[in-house]
Subunit: 341 residues, 2 copies
């Protein structure tokens, strides 16, 4: 077999593959969550009748494009990275909204909409007074994403391919992701992945473990996800268990900052202080945006982690999971190296 | 002809008739508005290709139910008034969103969706850094509202019927409104109306003038609209010209408060201070909500004006035209009569 060709200069810094979801965000109270058996702070998958039933009982809402990986690529694009996205919407109004919101930020997104089948995915997000978000996702058209949507040239043109763990839920997407990983590695690119959610880890633990031990180069997980993946209850036990698996393992810890783990180093990085947390939706997504933007910019890992924390801090200071302020300025200030963000 | 029957106890405090619109809100800059020939602070009607073209060039947006009269009835319902709405959406996703957001606030809304024809109306709102909103509205399904949608029993069941001036734009709606006015008066009810927008006044000045001289009992206008209606350039000239036309004329003046004019009295009422104006969308709509809620509660006119100012102040302190905080509490504090708002 001939050796892999040397990677050519990539056209994109990040190519994200994720669920294409419109968020439906409303304020809620804890009793509503209890009544509907929703676990605070987590995401549950629902079918269309369940989604319709929950929506009927939900308060007035705003609609805003979401999706974990899509939030990340939106943030990275706002930071100046060259970004593309692969994901599946339906040929309906929410699909048009999702595509508009991503492309208007400069994200390259040309995965064709599904002409028939289920409607564009939506995530009902209940924000409680403590700023936590509890989510019920109807995957809709995301279940139509398949290997035929993986554009080989596009994947090969990205310095980093970034995958969301949630993509292990729609059954067809898995094959698409495995194809994408192979294409990326054949082109000499790196593959990054987020574990997405503790319940997502629980649903796919064995497969995630195999991915982390195998093809994934850069892993993002919050503390609970990391602990759950390796079956421990202490973050340092998780650090020990994960050290030496992926090239870089990043564990986010909310207001305790983050830990960056490589084969021979462990960095604890302080968080960026947020005076008033309004809505924690998107914190992990924007952390990954800042971190990957830093990697693509050639920054050292500690500075990448600071950029991640700054981007996360910005997004939890307001309602919604996409950046509102000039993210570049926020990250530049936090990483304290003027003019290089 | 037999005399009008004495009005029975109304089932609703307010029955609003308005355009059923979903707002598409994005941050913008002044150069974008100039480039697209949009007049800052006003609303322009666009056709579907123009709307699509503007949307394609608009930044990432959030979708939130809007419509001037719908915002007013949403606010009044949040204040505890019993409220119904008549308006036309299409049988599409934005129509479902509009209906959900209104009914989830307790507003009675059963106007059937248009099964075919144009899609649900949308208003592209460009918010500039000075918190002004500039709007381009595609009326879509609103043009399908006709006399057949005017539910006689519903109109007769409302203490106040509230009409938005914007409804003079879709050609069929005019006949519906004239029918509603007659039904309301035959049932011994009052008819309130807002002039909506200076450009709307310019489009329909003669008809609006005839309505004000004729069947309208309560008129809401901002200073510019009032001056434009009667062809003067000083607010006190407008007060003089309008005094004695409608039973109550309310002129709002932004950070200068409002003026309430009856046949024999003129009240200047101070504004409620807003430390940080974020987005002026919905200020007039929520003023009307507070004022009408006060009237329905039997408050004196000055207290109604204070309630209007308080509700307006709440909505301009955040993004979007529907109330976010507990509006009842806001109005109760501002009108300083604990426990009665």
């Amino acid at each position: 077999m001939p050796p892999s060709p040397a990677p050519t200069d990539p056209r994109f810094d990040i190519v994200g593959i994720g669920n294409a979801i419109v968020d439906v965000v409303a304020q809620s109270d804890v009793r509503f969550l209890e009544h509907h058996d929703l676990h605070m702070g987590s995401m549950v998958l629902v079918d269309e009748p369940q989604a319709n039933d929950l929506y009927a009982q939900m308060g007035p809402a705003i609609e805003v494009s979401g999706g974990s990986c899509a939030n990340t690529v939106a943030g990275a694009s706002a930071l100046g990275s060259r970004v593309a996205f692969i994901g599946k919407v339906a040929d309906d109004e929410l699909g048009v909204i999702f595509r508009h919101d991503l492309t208007s930020l400069g994200v390259h997104f040309d995965t064709p909409a599904a002409a028939d089948g289920p409607s564009t995915a939506r995530c009902l997000i209940f924000v409680t007074p403590d700023a936590q978000r509890t989510m019920a996702t109807y995957l809709g058209a995301c279940t139509e994403l398949g290997p035929e949507d993986i554009d080989t040239d596009l994947i090969a043109a990205g310095r980093f391919v970034y995958l969301e763990g949630y993509l292990w839920d729609p059954p067809q997407a898995k094959a698409a992701l495995r194809a994408a990983i192979d294409i990326a590695h054949d082109a000499g690119r790196k593959v990054a992945m987020t574990l997405s959610d503790p319940f997502c880890v629980a649903r796919h633990r064995d497969e995630f473990r195999a991915l982390v031990d195998g093809p994934i180069d850069i892993l993002f997980a919050n503390q609970i996800e990391a602990e759950s993946l390796v079956g421990v209850t202490d973050v340092w036990d998780a650090v020990n268990a994960l050290q030496g698996t992926c090239e870089v393992v990043v564990i986010t810890r909310g207001d305790q900052g983050s830990i960056v783990v490589t084969a021979d180093q462990v960095h604890e990085v302080a968080p960026v202080h947020v005076p008033d947390v309004i809505d924690s939706t998107g914190a992990g997504d924007l952390y990954a945006a800042g971190f990957l933007h830093g990697l693509a910019s050639g920054w050292d890992l500690v500075r990448c982690a600071k950029a991640g924390s700054a981007a996360a801090a910005e997004v939890i200071g307001h309602f919604g999971a996409r950046p509102a302020r000039d993210l570049n300025e926020v990250v530049r200030t936090a990483t304290r190296q003027e003019g290089t963000a």
